[in-house]
């Protein structure tokens, strides 16, 4: 008889407490997703997702400063309920087409799910327990490159150029005292002789700015170092003189008593 009581209690408690409220999920997603730096959608936009019936599909991947979030949707079919599933991945791992992890957040009984993503704004609309819901998410931190126009300041292709939301302090690299001639300067962008970029571009992380050097005369420019620019000075890199080579002229600028010479790494250095 005691067992029955226990079952009854568990049953009622389960009804009362376990599931996350939909409004809570909406709030938590909004609070989290406004910091997304990149959003990729994988499912058709602006139409109700109804294929494959009963199957689970990856609909979206959101990239943040230190994590990736994957959003899956189970298309409802007969006894299989529609489900919205969200889980976190490490930054290095992209979302798999087939989910290999348990959901961090799950909403069951979802149907008529539709996604639209336009002008850095995401809209999710769906039915939940026969009621229609629409969730909007603006992405102010997504940058799709820059616009460089003469007589204007730098414009970022984003929802509002120059506005960002912050939840983690930005990490910086480089010290003010770092000098190329002393072998201390950090290379934040490495371009090889085939004009390929080696590794990641990190110059945006340089605390004290960065400068480009003259090396392989690549169309996209040469390698870049963090710190104060001393180009043209003794034992420092030559300043790039241009991409279009000037006949009978050096491709680097050095102070008048110095000459540009390639070092072992094929960087033009003033000596």
């Amino acid at each position: 008889m005691n067992k029955i009581y226990i079952y009854i209690i568990i049953f009622f408690l389960a009804i009362g407490c376990v599931k996350k409220d939909l409004n809570e999920i909406n709030y938590l997603l909004l609070k989290d997703w406004i910091y997304a730096k990149e959003v990729k959608t994988f499912s058709p936009l602006n139409q109700i997702l109804d294929r494959p019936p009963g199957g689970e599909i990856l609909i979206m991947q959101l990239k943040f400063v230190s994590k990736i979030e994957c959003v899956y949707y189970t298309v409802p079919f007969k006894s299989i309920p529609g489900k919205l599933i969200i889980f976190e991945n490490q930054l290095s791992e992209n979302c798999a087409e087939v989910r290999n992890n348990n959901g961090l957040t799950e909403v069951t009984d979802v149907s008529k799910f539709k996604i639209s993503f336009e002008n850095f704004k995401l809209n999710l609309s769906f039915n939940y327990k026969k009621q229609q819901y629409t969730w909007d998410f603006p992405f102010y931190n997504i940058k799709n490159g820059f616009i460089h126009e003469k007589f204007k300041s730098k414009k970022t292709l984003s929802l509002l150029s120059g506005l960002e939301f912050i939840n983690t302090p930005k990490k910086y690299i480089g010290r003010l005292s770092d000098r190329f001639s002393l072998g201390q300067a950090l290379r934040c962008h490495h371009v090889n002789q085939k004009c390929e970029t080696i590794g990641e571009y990190r110059c945006d992380e340089c605390r004290f700015g960065w400068y480009e050097i003259a090396d392989f005369n690549c169309p996209q420019g040469g390698s870049k170092f963090c710190g104060q620019n001393h180009c043209g000075e003794k034992n420092e890199p030559a300043c790039p003189r241009g991409y279009k080579i000037f006949e009978n002229e050096d491709t680097g600028i050095c102070q008048s008593e110095l000459i540009p010479v390639y070092n072992q790494e094929h960087i033009l250095v003033c000596q």
Binding site: E24, L163, F208, Q228, C239, Y243, S256
Partner: protein, 364 residues
């Protein structure tokens, strides 16, 4: 059995009331999340408003409402180019202080090289949002192309130093660094400078720094000290061998030069010189001739690192030419620190004001 039944009914009643309580709690909790979400959306909307005021600066309706109170607060009595208030925290701080509706709660000290950070807080829910606003709206893009360095060659057979900036995105500061901007550096970093400038000096050029300090300041902003060849690119109207020494005309000689074109010694009694947006070069660089001398980094000829054209010289002085520069040792602002190549100021001046500006490159 009767006793068992009554216990069972009591238990069921207890459970029903428990579930009811939990449901009520859940509904309250749910409403609380709706409120918090709405608050967050309000903060997002407020941040776009702040962003608008940030960019509009002196043109914003809000500035018009608080202008007098703000200038009074900072003891600014002289007129200055109020466009310098764009993308500056002072304007927002004043609007926040003097308008009844608070825009934000605090300006974070942790502002970085490229932006200022503000914390917004909803008064009802205490929901918080940290935003960052770009501080680089006073810089301009230098169009890609082939440019010339230095003055026009004396004769047509002489070499002319050319360079190009194709596939490079160079941005330069339109105006000289102000004391208001410098104050942030002094407050943020342990520099040997410890005097915070106030009042009418706030929007005047920071002009008492050593060359090393100027370079450190630009680094603090994630920039570099303006380079002589980039300065020439942004100021010479054409890069041909017959380029004009003046930024507003292609003529080699110009007779009637006004104080608005070059602010020289003769202009001092008429009106005070100030950083303003009336004397832009073709690329939008202000004060390329006249006003205060300006320090540059010259990677070609390090001894030509000072734009000497300034109000220390009369209108007829040969210094008022683009690309013609004096030598500054960068250590002090006294007469002995500057080599004017024999073309000295006629009036004795003990200390020279020397301004500077910064530039940077952006990678696409």
């Amino acid at each position: 059995m009767k006793k068992f039944k009554s216990i069972f009914i009591i238990v069921i009643l207890c459970l029903i009331s428990l579930v009811f309580l939990l449901k009520t709690e859940k509904t309250n909790k749910s409403e609380q999340f709706v409120r918090r979400k709405d608050a967050l959306l309000r903060l997002i909307k407020n941040s776009t408003e702040i962003h608008r005021i940030w960019l509009e600066g002196e043109d914003s309706r809000e500035w018009g409402l608080v202008r007098n109170q703000c200038l009074k607060k900072y003891n600014i009595t002289e007129s200055f180019d109020e466009s310098l208030l764009r993308c500056r925290p002072m304007l927002l701080a004043c609007i926040n202080e003097f308008l009844p509706k608070k825009l934000f709660n605090s300006i974070n000290n942790k502002s970085d090289a490229y932006s200022y950070q503000f914390t917004l807080e909803d008064s009802d829910t205490h929901e918080k949002l940290d935003i960052s606003l770009n501080n680089k709206c006073h810089e301009l893009y230098l169009e890609q192309g082939i440019y010339a360095y230095g003055e026009a060659p004396k004769n047509t057979n002489a070499d002319d130093y050319k360079f190009d900036i194709y596939n490079r995105h160079i941005y330069f500061d339109q105006h000289l660094v102000t004391n208001d901007e410098l104050n942030e550096w002094i407050k943020s970093y342990k520099t040997e400078l410890n005097t915070i400038t106030n009042g009418n000096l706030l929007f005047k050029p920071a002009s008492q720094l050593s060359l090393k300090q100027m370079r450190s300041y630009c680094s603090f902003r994630g920039q570099q000290l303006m380079e002589a060849h980039i300065y020439d690119a942004a100021t010479f109207l054409t890069a041909d061998k017959m380029r004009s020494p003046f930024y507003w005309t292609k003529k080699i000689r110009e007779k009637n030069i006004s104080c608005l074109q070059i602010y020289t010694e003769e202009c001092l009694p008429d009106f005070k010189w100030k950083i303003d947006s009336s004397s832009a070069s073709w690329a939008g660089l202000y004060n390329s001739l006249g006003g205060v001398p300006e320090a540059l980094r010259n990677p070609v000829d390090p001894d030509s690192n000072l734009k000497a054209s300034s109000f220390y010289f009369q209108r007829t002085s040969p210094w008022h030419r683009l690309g013609f520069r004096a030598n500054w040792d960068g250590l002090g602002n006294e007469r002995r620190n500057i080599n004017f190549r024999g073309i000295d100021p006629l009036t004795y001046t003990d200390k020279f004001e020397i301004g500077f500006r910064c530039m940077r490159e952006v990678y696409q």
